[in-house]
Symmetry: C2
Subunit: 288 residues, 2 copies
Protein backbone atom coordinates (compact mmCIF):
# COMPACT_ATOMS: atom_id res chain seq x y z
CA UNK A 1 0.00 0.00 0.00
CA UNK A 2 1.21 3.52 -0.73
CA UNK A 3 0.70 6.50 1.58
CA UNK A 4 -2.46 7.67 -0.13
CA UNK A 5 -4.02 4.24 0.31
CA UNK A 6 -2.93 4.09 3.96
CA UNK A 7 -4.71 7.38 4.65
CA UNK A 8 -8.03 5.77 3.73
CA UNK A 9 -7.74 2.72 5.94
CA UNK A 10 -10.74 1.45 7.85
CA UNK A 11 -11.33 -1.37 10.37
CA UNK A 12 -13.22 -4.56 9.58
CA UNK A 13 -14.11 -6.56 12.69
CA UNK A 14 -15.51 -9.99 13.45
CA UNK A 15 -17.71 -9.80 16.56
CA UNK A 16 -18.18 -12.82 18.77
CA UNK A 17 -19.58 -13.01 22.29
CA UNK A 18 -18.26 -9.73 23.70
CA UNK A 19 -14.97 -9.88 21.79
CA UNK A 20 -13.99 -8.25 18.52
CA UNK A 21 -11.10 -9.03 16.26
CA UNK A 22 -10.33 -6.40 13.63
CA UNK A 23 -8.00 -5.94 10.72
CA UNK A 24 -7.03 -2.52 9.39
CA UNK A 25 -7.22 -2.09 5.64
CA UNK A 26 -9.51 -1.42 2.73
CA UNK A 27 -12.73 -3.02 1.55
CA UNK A 28 -12.21 -4.28 -2.02
CA UNK A 29 -15.55 -5.94 -2.74
CA UNK A 30 -18.85 -6.67 -1.04
CA UNK A 31 -21.66 -8.79 -2.46
CA UNK A 32 -24.18 -11.47 -1.62
CA UNK A 33 -24.01 -14.85 -3.34
CA UNK A 34 -26.91 -17.32 -3.28
CA UNK A 35 -25.48 -18.71 -0.06
CA UNK A 36 -23.78 -15.99 1.96
CA UNK A 37 -22.51 -12.42 2.29
CA UNK A 38 -19.00 -12.10 0.86
CA UNK A 39 -16.38 -9.41 1.48
CA UNK A 40 -12.85 -9.18 0.15
CA UNK A 41 -10.81 -6.95 2.45
CA UNK A 42 -7.21 -5.92 1.87
CA UNK A 43 -5.56 -5.85 5.29
CA UNK A 44 -2.18 -4.30 6.01
CA UNK A 45 -1.23 -7.17 8.38
CA UNK A 46 -2.29 -10.32 6.54
CA UNK A 47 -2.85 -9.22 2.94
CA UNK A 48 -6.15 -9.80 1.16
CA UNK A 49 -8.70 -11.62 3.26
CA UNK A 50 -12.04 -13.37 2.75
CA UNK A 51 -14.86 -12.39 5.13
CA UNK A 52 -18.01 -14.58 4.87
CA UNK A 53 -21.22 -13.82 6.78
CA UNK A 54 -19.28 -11.39 9.02
CA UNK A 55 -16.58 -13.93 9.91
CA UNK A 56 -12.91 -14.06 8.88
CA UNK A 57 -12.36 -17.14 6.72
CA UNK A 58 -8.86 -16.86 5.37
CA UNK A 59 -6.15 -14.36 4.46
CA UNK A 60 -3.17 -14.53 2.12
CA UNK A 61 -0.56 -14.26 4.86
CA UNK A 62 -2.19 -16.33 7.59
CA UNK A 63 -3.82 -19.19 5.71
CA UNK A 64 -1.01 -21.70 6.15
CA UNK A 65 -1.59 -22.02 9.88
CA UNK A 66 -5.06 -23.34 9.04
CA UNK A 67 -4.50 -25.40 5.89
CA UNK A 68 -1.29 -27.17 6.96
CA UNK A 69 -2.92 -28.31 10.22
CA UNK A 70 -6.04 -29.62 8.48
CA UNK A 71 -4.24 -31.49 5.71
CA UNK A 72 -0.89 -32.93 6.77
CA UNK A 73 -1.80 -35.06 9.80
CA UNK A 74 -4.28 -36.88 7.51
CA UNK A 75 -2.13 -37.07 4.40
CA UNK A 76 1.07 -38.05 6.20
CA UNK A 77 -0.67 -40.84 8.11
CA UNK A 78 -3.49 -42.29 5.98
CA UNK A 79 -2.61 -45.74 4.61
CA UNK A 80 -3.08 -44.57 1.03
CA UNK A 81 -3.69 -41.09 -0.38
CA UNK A 82 -4.50 -41.71 -4.04
CA UNK A 83 -8.03 -40.35 -4.04
CA UNK A 84 -9.07 -37.35 -1.97
CA UNK A 85 -12.41 -35.63 -1.40
CA UNK A 86 -12.50 -32.03 -0.19
CA UNK A 87 -15.87 -30.66 0.91
CA UNK A 88 -15.82 -26.86 0.92
CA UNK A 89 -12.32 -25.44 0.63
CA UNK A 90 -13.31 -23.00 -2.13
CA UNK A 91 -10.27 -20.80 -1.49
CA UNK A 92 -8.06 -23.60 -2.87
CA UNK A 93 -5.66 -23.81 0.08
CA UNK A 94 -6.55 -27.35 1.13
CA UNK A 95 -6.23 -28.58 -2.46
CA UNK A 96 -2.83 -26.89 -2.81
CA UNK A 97 -1.49 -28.64 0.30
CA UNK A 98 -2.85 -32.04 -0.84
CA UNK A 99 -1.31 -31.67 -4.28
CA UNK A 100 2.17 -31.42 -2.77
CA UNK A 101 2.08 -35.23 -2.42
CA UNK A 102 3.08 -37.15 -5.55
CA UNK A 103 1.01 -40.14 -4.40
CA UNK A 104 -2.20 -38.11 -4.80
CA UNK A 105 -3.81 -39.09 -8.11
CA UNK A 106 -7.13 -37.30 -7.94
CA UNK A 107 -8.95 -34.72 -5.81
CA UNK A 108 -12.66 -34.00 -5.98
CA UNK A 109 -13.22 -30.51 -4.58
CA UNK A 110 -16.94 -30.06 -3.90
CA UNK A 111 -17.76 -26.43 -3.11
CA UNK A 112 -21.34 -25.21 -2.88
CA UNK A 113 -20.67 -21.55 -3.67
CA UNK A 114 -19.16 -20.85 -7.08
CA UNK A 115 -18.55 -17.19 -6.16
CA UNK A 116 -16.13 -18.22 -3.39
CA UNK A 117 -14.00 -20.01 -5.98
CA UNK A 118 -14.25 -17.20 -8.54
CA UNK A 119 -13.38 -14.49 -6.02
CA UNK A 120 -10.59 -16.55 -4.45
CA UNK A 121 -9.03 -17.12 -7.87
CA UNK A 122 -9.25 -13.42 -8.65
CA UNK A 123 -8.31 -11.80 -5.33
CA UNK A 124 -6.51 -14.52 -3.34
CA UNK A 125 -4.63 -16.35 -6.12
CA UNK A 126 -1.68 -17.35 -3.89
CA UNK A 127 -3.93 -19.46 -1.66
CA UNK A 128 -4.95 -21.88 -4.41
CA UNK A 129 -1.64 -21.39 -6.21
CA UNK A 130 -0.93 -24.04 -8.83
CA UNK A 131 -3.82 -26.17 -7.61
CA UNK A 132 -6.28 -24.45 -9.95
CA UNK A 133 -4.34 -25.58 -13.03
CA UNK A 134 -3.36 -29.05 -11.72
CA UNK A 135 -5.01 -31.77 -13.82
CA UNK A 136 -5.48 -33.91 -10.69
CA UNK A 137 -8.03 -31.42 -9.33
CA UNK A 138 -11.68 -31.91 -10.26
CA UNK A 139 -13.85 -28.93 -9.33
CA UNK A 140 -17.51 -29.63 -8.62
CA UNK A 141 -19.91 -26.82 -7.82
CA UNK A 142 -22.31 -28.94 -5.81
CA UNK A 143 -23.85 -29.45 -2.40
CA UNK A 144 -21.40 -31.60 -0.43
CA UNK A 145 -24.23 -33.31 1.47
CA UNK A 146 -25.73 -34.62 -1.78
CA UNK A 147 -22.30 -35.52 -3.14
CA UNK A 148 -21.43 -37.92 -0.31
CA UNK A 149 -25.00 -39.30 -0.24
CA UNK A 150 -24.79 -40.31 -3.89
CA UNK A 151 -21.22 -41.60 -3.86
CA UNK A 152 -20.39 -45.31 -3.93
CA UNK A 153 -18.94 -47.11 -0.90
CA UNK A 154 -15.14 -47.07 -0.56
CA UNK A 155 -14.52 -44.15 -2.92
CA UNK A 156 -11.83 -42.08 -1.20
CA UNK A 157 -8.65 -42.61 0.82
CA UNK A 158 -9.01 -39.28 2.59
CA UNK A 159 -11.95 -36.94 3.15
CA UNK A 160 -11.27 -33.31 4.10
CA UNK A 161 -14.11 -31.22 5.51
CA UNK A 162 -13.06 -27.62 5.07
CA UNK A 163 -16.22 -25.69 5.92
CA UNK A 164 -17.16 -22.65 7.95
CA UNK A 165 -18.79 -22.66 11.38
CA UNK A 166 -21.82 -24.94 11.77
CA UNK A 167 -24.24 -22.14 11.02
CA UNK A 168 -25.24 -21.02 7.53
CA UNK A 169 -24.32 -23.22 4.56
CA UNK A 170 -21.87 -25.37 6.57
CA UNK A 171 -24.32 -26.48 9.27
CA UNK A 172 -25.00 -29.92 7.79
CA UNK A 173 -21.27 -30.70 7.52
CA UNK A 174 -21.34 -31.59 11.21
CA UNK A 175 -24.51 -33.70 11.13
CA UNK A 176 -24.68 -37.37 11.98
CA UNK A 177 -26.15 -38.42 8.61
CA UNK A 178 -23.50 -36.57 6.60
CA UNK A 179 -20.67 -38.06 8.67
CA UNK A 180 -22.20 -41.55 8.36
CA UNK A 181 -22.07 -41.13 4.58
CA UNK A 182 -18.45 -40.01 4.84
CA UNK A 183 -17.59 -43.17 6.77
CA UNK A 184 -19.31 -45.28 4.10
CA UNK A 185 -17.43 -43.73 1.17
CA UNK A 186 -14.03 -43.81 2.95
CA UNK A 187 -11.73 -46.68 1.91
CA UNK A 188 -10.20 -49.01 4.55
CA UNK A 189 -7.23 -47.41 6.34
CA UNK A 190 -8.46 -43.95 5.39
CA UNK A 191 -8.83 -40.78 7.44
CA UNK A 192 -11.48 -38.09 7.66
CA UNK A 193 -10.15 -34.65 8.63
CA UNK A 194 -12.35 -31.75 9.70
CA UNK A 195 -11.88 -28.37 11.26
CA UNK A 196 -13.52 -28.71 14.67
CA UNK A 197 -13.89 -25.15 15.97
CA UNK A 198 -12.24 -23.43 18.94
CA UNK A 199 -12.20 -25.14 22.35
CA UNK A 200 -12.13 -21.61 23.79
CA UNK A 201 -14.72 -19.67 21.75
CA UNK A 202 -16.96 -22.55 20.70
CA UNK A 203 -16.40 -25.00 23.53
CA UNK A 204 -19.69 -26.89 23.26
CA UNK A 205 -19.51 -27.12 19.46
CA UNK A 206 -15.96 -28.44 19.67
CA UNK A 207 -16.81 -31.10 22.21
CA UNK A 208 -19.91 -32.07 20.24
CA UNK A 209 -17.99 -32.51 16.99
CA UNK A 210 -15.49 -34.87 18.65
CA UNK A 211 -18.36 -36.68 20.37
CA UNK A 212 -20.33 -37.24 17.15
CA UNK A 213 -17.20 -38.42 15.33
CA UNK A 214 -16.42 -40.89 18.15
CA UNK A 215 -19.94 -42.28 17.92
CA UNK A 216 -19.58 -42.91 14.18
CA UNK A 217 -15.91 -43.83 13.81
CA UNK A 218 -13.70 -46.05 15.99
CA UNK A 219 -11.21 -43.23 16.51
CA UNK A 220 -11.47 -39.43 16.54
CA UNK A 221 -8.52 -37.42 17.79
CA UNK A 222 -8.31 -33.61 17.97
CA UNK A 223 -5.21 -31.48 17.52
CA UNK A 224 -4.85 -27.90 18.74
CA UNK A 225 -3.16 -24.99 17.01
CA UNK A 226 -3.35 -21.28 16.33
CA UNK A 227 -5.31 -19.34 13.70
CA UNK A 228 -4.81 -15.69 14.67
CA UNK A 229 -7.74 -14.35 12.60
CA UNK A 230 -10.32 -16.74 14.17
CA UNK A 231 -12.13 -16.09 17.48
CA UNK A 232 -9.66 -16.52 20.40
CA UNK A 233 -6.90 -17.65 18.02
CA UNK A 234 -6.99 -21.16 19.50
CA UNK A 235 -8.36 -23.63 16.96
CA UNK A 236 -8.78 -27.38 16.53
CA UNK A 237 -8.95 -30.01 13.82
CA UNK A 238 -10.12 -33.58 14.35
CA UNK A 239 -9.06 -36.76 12.55
CA UNK A 240 -11.42 -39.74 12.46
CA UNK A 241 -10.85 -43.27 11.22
CA UNK A 242 -12.05 -46.86 11.58
CA UNK A 243 -8.53 -48.27 11.89
CA UNK A 244 -5.90 -47.03 14.33
CA UNK A 245 -3.69 -44.40 12.68
CA UNK A 246 -0.04 -43.92 13.74
CA UNK A 247 -0.09 -40.13 14.14
CA UNK A 248 3.08 -40.23 16.28
CA UNK A 249 4.88 -41.97 13.44
CA UNK A 250 3.89 -40.43 10.09
CA UNK A 251 5.24 -41.89 6.83
CA UNK A 252 8.83 -40.65 6.53
CA UNK A 253 8.89 -40.29 2.73
CA UNK A 254 5.82 -38.05 2.81
CA UNK A 255 7.18 -35.98 5.71
CA UNK A 256 10.37 -35.41 3.72
CA UNK A 257 8.38 -34.47 0.62
CA UNK A 258 6.46 -31.62 2.24
CA UNK A 259 8.38 -30.39 5.29
CA UNK A 260 10.45 -27.74 3.57
CA UNK A 261 7.41 -25.90 2.24
CA UNK A 262 5.59 -25.79 5.59
CA UNK A 263 5.41 -22.74 7.84
CA UNK A 264 3.80 -24.31 10.89
CA UNK A 265 3.51 -28.06 10.37
CA UNK A 266 6.38 -30.47 11.01
CA UNK A 267 6.50 -34.06 12.22
CA UNK A 268 7.48 -32.70 15.64
CA UNK A 269 4.68 -30.12 15.63
CA UNK A 270 2.16 -32.85 14.82
CA UNK A 271 3.40 -35.07 17.64
CA UNK A 272 2.92 -32.13 20.00
CA UNK A 273 -0.44 -30.97 18.68
CA UNK A 274 -2.18 -34.29 19.43
CA UNK A 275 -1.22 -33.75 23.09
CA UNK A 276 -1.85 -30.04 23.74
CA UNK A 277 -5.46 -30.68 24.63
CA UNK A 278 -6.53 -28.18 27.31
CA UNK A 279 -7.13 -30.01 30.60
CA UNK A 280 -10.77 -28.89 30.87
CA UNK A 281 -11.50 -30.23 27.37
CA UNK A 282 -9.78 -33.54 28.14
CA UNK A 283 -11.98 -33.91 31.22
CA UNK A 284 -15.11 -33.20 29.14
CA UNK A 285 -14.11 -35.71 26.45
CA UNK A 286 -13.49 -38.40 29.08
CA UNK A 287 -17.19 -38.19 29.96
CA UNK A 288 -18.21 -39.23 26.43
Amino acid sequence: MNNKQKAKLEWCDEYHNGVRYGLEGKLILEESSSFQKIKIFESSRYGKALFLDDCWMTAEKSEKCYHECLIHPALCCSKQIKSILIIGGGDGGSARECLKYKEVISIDLVEIDQRVIELSKKYLPTIGGNAWSDSRLNLKIKNGIDWVKNKKDNSYNVIIIDGADPIGPSKELFSNSFLQDCKRILKPGGVLATQSESPESFQKLHINIVKVLREIFNYADPIYGSVPIYPSGLWSWTFASMEKIEYMNPQKNRVKEISKSCQIWSERWQQGAFNTIPAFIERELEKI
Copy 2:
Protein backbone atom coordinates in the same frame (compact mmCIF):
# COMPACT_ATOMS: atom_id res chain seq x y z
CA MET B 1 -24.09 -7.14 34.68
CA ASN B 2 -27.74 -6.11 34.70
CA ASN B 3 -29.61 -4.69 31.70
CA LYS B 4 -28.96 -1.09 32.66
CA GLN B 5 -25.23 -1.76 32.82
CA LYS B 6 -25.30 -3.61 29.49
CA ALA B 7 -26.86 -0.61 27.79
CA LYS B 8 -23.76 1.45 28.57
CA LEU B 9 -21.17 -0.97 27.21
CA GLU B 10 -18.18 0.32 25.27
CA TRP B 11 -15.23 -1.30 23.49
CA CYS B 12 -11.67 -1.27 24.78
CA ASP B 13 -9.13 -2.37 22.16
CA GLU B 14 -5.46 -3.26 22.10
CA TYR B 15 -3.94 -2.15 18.80
CA HIS B 16 -0.93 -3.92 17.35
CA ASN B 17 0.48 -3.75 13.84
CA GLY B 18 -2.76 -3.43 11.84
CA VAL B 19 -4.75 -5.71 14.14
CA ARG B 20 -7.05 -4.83 17.02
CA TYR B 21 -8.38 -7.03 19.76
CA GLY B 22 -11.29 -5.60 21.72
CA LEU B 23 -13.38 -6.52 24.71
CA GLU B 24 -16.87 -5.15 25.29
CA GLY B 25 -17.61 -3.83 28.73
CA LYS B 26 -17.25 -0.92 31.06
CA LEU B 27 -14.27 1.14 32.19
CA ILE B 28 -14.01 0.93 35.98
CA LEU B 29 -10.86 2.93 36.65
CA GLU B 30 -8.16 4.82 34.77
CA GLU B 31 -5.01 6.31 36.29
CA SER B 32 -1.28 6.71 35.81
CA SER B 33 1.13 5.23 38.31
CA SER B 34 4.80 6.25 38.49
CA PHE B 35 5.53 3.55 35.92
CA GLN B 36 2.59 3.11 33.55
CA LYS B 37 -0.96 3.90 32.51
CA ILE B 38 -3.40 1.58 34.27
CA LYS B 39 -6.99 0.73 33.35
CA ILE B 40 -9.37 -1.68 35.03
CA PHE B 41 -12.05 -2.73 32.54
CA GLU B 42 -15.02 -4.96 33.33
CA SER B 43 -15.56 -7.11 30.22
CA SER B 44 -18.64 -9.20 29.58
CA ARG B 45 -16.55 -12.07 28.15
CA TYR B 46 -13.64 -12.43 30.57
CA GLY B 47 -14.69 -10.49 33.67
CA LYS B 48 -12.55 -7.70 35.09
CA ALA B 49 -9.35 -7.11 33.19
CA LEU B 50 -6.09 -5.21 33.69
CA PHE B 51 -4.97 -3.00 30.76
CA LEU B 52 -1.44 -1.54 31.16
CA ASP B 53 0.04 0.99 28.72
CA ASP B 54 -2.74 0.15 26.22
CA CYS B 55 -2.12 -3.62 26.34
CA TRP B 56 -4.23 -6.38 27.84
CA MET B 57 -2.35 -7.94 30.75
CA THR B 58 -4.74 -10.29 32.45
CA ALA B 59 -8.43 -10.93 33.07
CA GLU B 60 -10.29 -12.86 35.73
CA LYS B 61 -11.66 -15.50 33.37
CA SER B 62 -8.70 -15.96 31.07
CA GLU B 63 -5.68 -15.69 33.36
CA LYS B 64 -5.20 -19.41 33.94
CA CYS B 65 -4.12 -20.04 30.36
CA TYR B 66 -1.17 -17.72 31.03
CA HIS B 67 -0.23 -18.48 34.64
CA GLU B 68 -0.49 -22.28 34.46
CA CYS B 69 1.80 -22.37 31.41
CA LEU B 70 4.41 -20.11 32.99
CA ILE B 71 4.53 -21.87 36.36
CA HIS B 72 3.92 -25.62 36.13
CA PRO B 73 6.58 -26.76 33.64
CA ALA B 74 9.16 -25.15 35.96
CA LEU B 75 7.69 -26.22 39.28
CA CYS B 76 6.88 -29.78 38.22
CA CYS B 77 10.40 -30.33 36.85
CA SER B 78 12.90 -28.29 38.87
CA LYS B 79 15.01 -30.48 41.16
CA GLN B 80 13.85 -28.59 44.25
CA ILE B 81 11.19 -25.90 44.64
CA LYS B 82 11.68 -24.68 48.21
CA SER B 83 12.60 -21.08 47.42
CA ILE B 84 11.03 -19.16 44.54
CA LEU B 85 11.61 -15.69 43.14
CA ILE B 86 8.89 -14.00 41.07
CA ILE B 87 9.87 -10.82 39.24
CA GLY B 88 6.75 -8.85 38.29
CA GLY B 89 3.57 -10.84 38.68
CA GLY B 90 1.80 -8.07 40.59
CA ASP B 91 -1.64 -9.53 39.83
CA GLY B 92 -0.81 -12.47 42.14
CA GLY B 93 -1.63 -15.26 39.65
CA SER B 94 1.89 -16.67 39.43
CA ALA B 95 2.25 -16.69 43.22
CA ARG B 96 -1.12 -18.45 43.57
CA GLU B 97 -0.06 -21.25 41.19
CA CYS B 98 3.33 -21.66 42.96
CA LEU B 99 1.70 -21.86 46.38
CA LYS B 100 -0.30 -24.93 45.31
CA TYR B 101 2.89 -26.95 45.92
CA LYS B 102 3.44 -28.02 49.53
CA GLU B 103 7.20 -28.21 48.89
CA VAL B 104 7.33 -24.43 48.35
CA ILE B 105 8.62 -22.83 51.56
CA SER B 106 9.10 -19.23 50.52
CA ILE B 107 8.33 -16.92 47.59
CA ASP B 108 9.85 -13.49 47.10
CA LEU B 109 7.53 -11.53 44.81
CA VAL B 110 9.37 -8.44 43.56
CA GLU B 111 6.99 -6.05 41.80
CA ILE B 112 8.08 -2.56 40.82
CA ASP B 113 4.61 -0.96 40.74
CA GLN B 114 2.75 -0.96 44.05
CA ARG B 115 -0.43 0.27 42.32
CA VAL B 116 -0.64 -2.93 40.24
CA ILE B 117 -0.73 -4.96 43.44
CA GLU B 118 -3.20 -2.64 45.18
CA LEU B 119 -5.57 -2.53 42.22
CA SER B 120 -5.29 -6.29 41.58
CA LYS B 121 -6.16 -7.00 45.21
CA LYS B 122 -9.14 -4.65 45.01
CA TYR B 123 -10.55 -5.38 41.55
CA LEU B 124 -9.12 -8.77 40.55
CA PRO B 125 -9.07 -10.59 43.92
CA THR B 126 -9.66 -14.05 42.41
CA ILE B 127 -6.36 -13.92 40.50
CA GLY B 128 -4.17 -13.69 43.61
CA GLY B 129 -6.70 -15.66 45.64
CA ASN B 130 -5.31 -17.00 48.90
CA ALA B 131 -1.76 -16.09 47.88
CA TRP B 132 -2.06 -12.61 49.38
CA SER B 133 -2.65 -14.01 52.86
CA ASP B 134 -0.23 -16.96 52.61
CA SER B 135 2.63 -16.56 55.09
CA ARG B 136 5.05 -18.09 52.56
CA LEU B 137 4.66 -15.03 50.28
CA ASN B 138 7.03 -12.10 50.84
CA LEU B 139 5.96 -9.00 48.90
CA LYS B 140 8.72 -6.57 47.92
CA ILE B 141 7.91 -3.35 46.14
CA LYS B 142 11.28 -3.03 44.41
CA ASN B 143 13.00 -2.88 41.08
CA GLY B 144 13.61 -6.49 40.03
CA ILE B 145 16.86 -5.59 38.26
CA ASP B 146 18.35 -4.26 41.50
CA TRP B 147 16.95 -7.18 43.47
CA VAL B 148 18.75 -9.86 41.47
CA LYS B 149 21.92 -7.72 41.30
CA ASN B 150 22.14 -7.52 45.08
CA LYS B 151 21.15 -11.10 45.83
CA LYS B 152 23.69 -13.75 46.92
CA ASP B 153 24.71 -16.63 44.66
CA ASN B 154 22.53 -19.77 44.80
CA SER B 155 19.52 -18.12 46.43
CA TYR B 156 16.54 -19.63 44.61
CA ASN B 157 15.42 -22.99 43.24
CA VAL B 158 13.15 -21.37 40.64
CA ILE B 159 12.99 -17.88 39.16
CA ILE B 160 9.79 -16.74 37.44
CA ILE B 161 9.92 -13.68 35.20
CA ASP B 162 6.34 -12.51 34.85
CA GLY B 163 6.70 -9.13 33.15
CA ALA B 164 5.03 -7.27 30.33
CA ASP B 165 6.42 -6.77 26.81
CA PRO B 166 10.05 -5.63 26.62
CA ILE B 167 9.06 -1.98 26.33
CA GLY B 168 8.27 0.28 29.29
CA PRO B 169 9.14 -0.91 32.81
CA SER B 170 9.75 -4.53 31.71
CA LYS B 171 12.41 -3.81 29.08
CA GLU B 172 15.39 -4.73 31.24
CA LEU B 173 13.85 -8.10 32.18
CA PHE B 174 15.09 -9.42 28.84
CA SER B 175 18.59 -7.96 29.03
CA ASN B 176 21.79 -9.98 29.10
CA SER B 177 23.04 -8.51 32.40
CA PHE B 178 19.76 -9.17 34.23
CA LEU B 179 19.62 -12.77 33.00
CA GLN B 180 23.29 -13.31 33.95
CA ASP B 181 22.37 -12.27 37.48
CA CYS B 182 19.43 -14.66 37.42
CA LYS B 183 21.76 -17.51 36.49
CA ARG B 184 24.11 -16.59 39.33
CA ILE B 185 21.38 -16.55 42.02
CA LEU B 186 19.74 -19.79 40.79
CA LYS B 187 20.61 -22.93 42.77
CA PRO B 188 21.98 -26.05 41.03
CA GLY B 189 19.23 -28.06 39.30
CA GLY B 190 16.99 -24.97 39.19
CA VAL B 191 14.90 -23.51 36.39
CA LEU B 192 14.27 -19.97 35.17
CA ALA B 193 10.85 -19.48 33.56
CA THR B 194 9.90 -16.43 31.53
CA GLN B 195 7.08 -15.40 29.26
CA SER B 196 8.74 -15.10 25.85
CA GLU B 197 6.25 -13.24 23.66
CA SER B 198 4.30 -14.39 20.60
CA PRO B 199 6.12 -16.18 17.76
CA GLU B 200 3.40 -14.72 15.51
CA SER B 201 3.03 -11.08 16.63
CA PHE B 202 6.53 -10.53 18.07
CA GLN B 203 8.54 -13.00 16.03
CA LYS B 204 11.92 -11.26 16.34
CA LEU B 205 11.50 -10.60 20.06
CA HIS B 206 10.56 -14.22 20.66
CA ILE B 207 13.55 -15.56 18.76
CA ASN B 208 15.84 -13.09 20.47
CA ILE B 209 14.68 -14.06 23.97
CA VAL B 210 15.39 -17.75 23.29
CA LYS B 211 18.72 -16.82 21.71
CA VAL B 212 19.87 -14.71 24.69
CA LEU B 213 18.80 -17.43 27.12
CA ARG B 214 20.73 -20.07 25.15
CA GLU B 215 23.84 -17.89 25.26
CA ILE B 216 23.66 -17.60 29.04
CA PHE B 217 22.26 -20.98 30.10
CA ASN B 218 23.07 -24.47 28.87
CA TYR B 219 19.45 -25.14 27.97
CA ALA B 220 16.51 -22.91 26.98
CA ASP B 221 13.36 -24.54 25.67
CA PRO B 222 10.19 -22.74 24.59
CA ILE B 223 6.63 -24.00 24.90
CA TYR B 224 3.68 -22.70 22.88
CA GLY B 225 0.14 -22.10 24.04
CA SER B 226 -2.84 -19.81 23.74
CA VAL B 227 -3.66 -16.55 25.53
CA PRO B 228 -6.79 -15.25 23.75
CA ILE B 229 -6.46 -11.66 25.02
CA TYR B 230 -2.86 -11.23 23.77
CA PRO B 231 -1.90 -10.24 20.19
CA SER B 232 -2.57 -13.19 17.82
CA GLY B 233 -3.57 -15.44 20.74
CA LEU B 234 -0.46 -17.58 20.18
CA TRP B 235 1.98 -17.14 23.06
CA SER B 236 5.22 -18.70 24.34
CA TRP B 237 7.08 -19.27 27.59
CA THR B 238 10.72 -20.36 27.80
CA PHE B 239 12.46 -22.46 30.47
CA ALA B 240 16.19 -22.11 30.99
CA SER B 241 18.59 -24.13 33.12
CA MET B 242 22.22 -25.16 33.49
CA GLU B 243 21.39 -28.85 34.01
CA LYS B 244 19.20 -30.91 31.70
CA ILE B 245 15.60 -30.91 32.95
CA GLU B 246 13.26 -33.86 32.30
CA TYR B 247 10.28 -31.92 30.95
CA MET B 248 8.83 -35.07 29.35
CA ASN B 249 8.86 -36.75 32.75
CA PRO B 250 7.72 -34.29 35.45
CA GLN B 251 7.70 -35.35 39.10
CA LYS B 252 4.61 -37.52 39.58
CA ASN B 253 3.79 -36.44 43.14
CA ARG B 254 3.74 -32.79 42.09
CA VAL B 255 1.65 -33.51 38.99
CA LYS B 256 -0.87 -35.30 41.15
CA GLU B 257 -0.92 -32.41 43.63
CA ILE B 258 -1.92 -29.75 41.12
CA SER B 259 -3.62 -31.42 38.13
CA LYS B 260 -7.19 -31.27 39.41
CA SER B 261 -7.11 -27.51 39.83
CA CYS B 262 -5.73 -26.79 36.35
CA GLN B 263 -7.80 -25.59 33.41
CA ILE B 264 -5.20 -25.86 30.65
CA TRP B 265 -2.06 -27.50 32.03
CA SER B 266 -1.65 -31.25 32.40
CA GLU B 267 1.34 -33.56 32.15
CA ARG B 268 0.14 -34.48 28.66
CA TRP B 269 -0.36 -30.84 27.66
CA GLN B 270 3.18 -30.04 28.79
CA GLN B 271 4.64 -32.92 26.79
CA GLY B 272 2.85 -31.56 23.73
CA ALA B 273 3.65 -27.90 24.26
CA PHE B 274 7.43 -28.42 24.14
CA ASN B 275 6.92 -29.84 20.63
CA THR B 276 4.36 -27.53 19.00
CA ILE B 277 7.04 -25.16 17.83
CA PRO B 278 5.99 -23.62 14.50
CA ALA B 279 8.26 -24.93 11.72
CA PHE B 280 9.47 -21.45 10.70
CA ILE B 281 10.50 -20.69 14.30
CA GLU B 282 12.30 -24.04 14.60
CA ARG B 283 14.28 -23.21 11.44
CA GLU B 284 15.20 -19.79 12.86
CA LEU B 285 16.31 -21.28 16.20
CA GLU B 286 18.48 -23.85 14.41
CA LYS B 287 20.54 -20.94 13.05
CA ILE B 288 21.49 -19.81 16.58
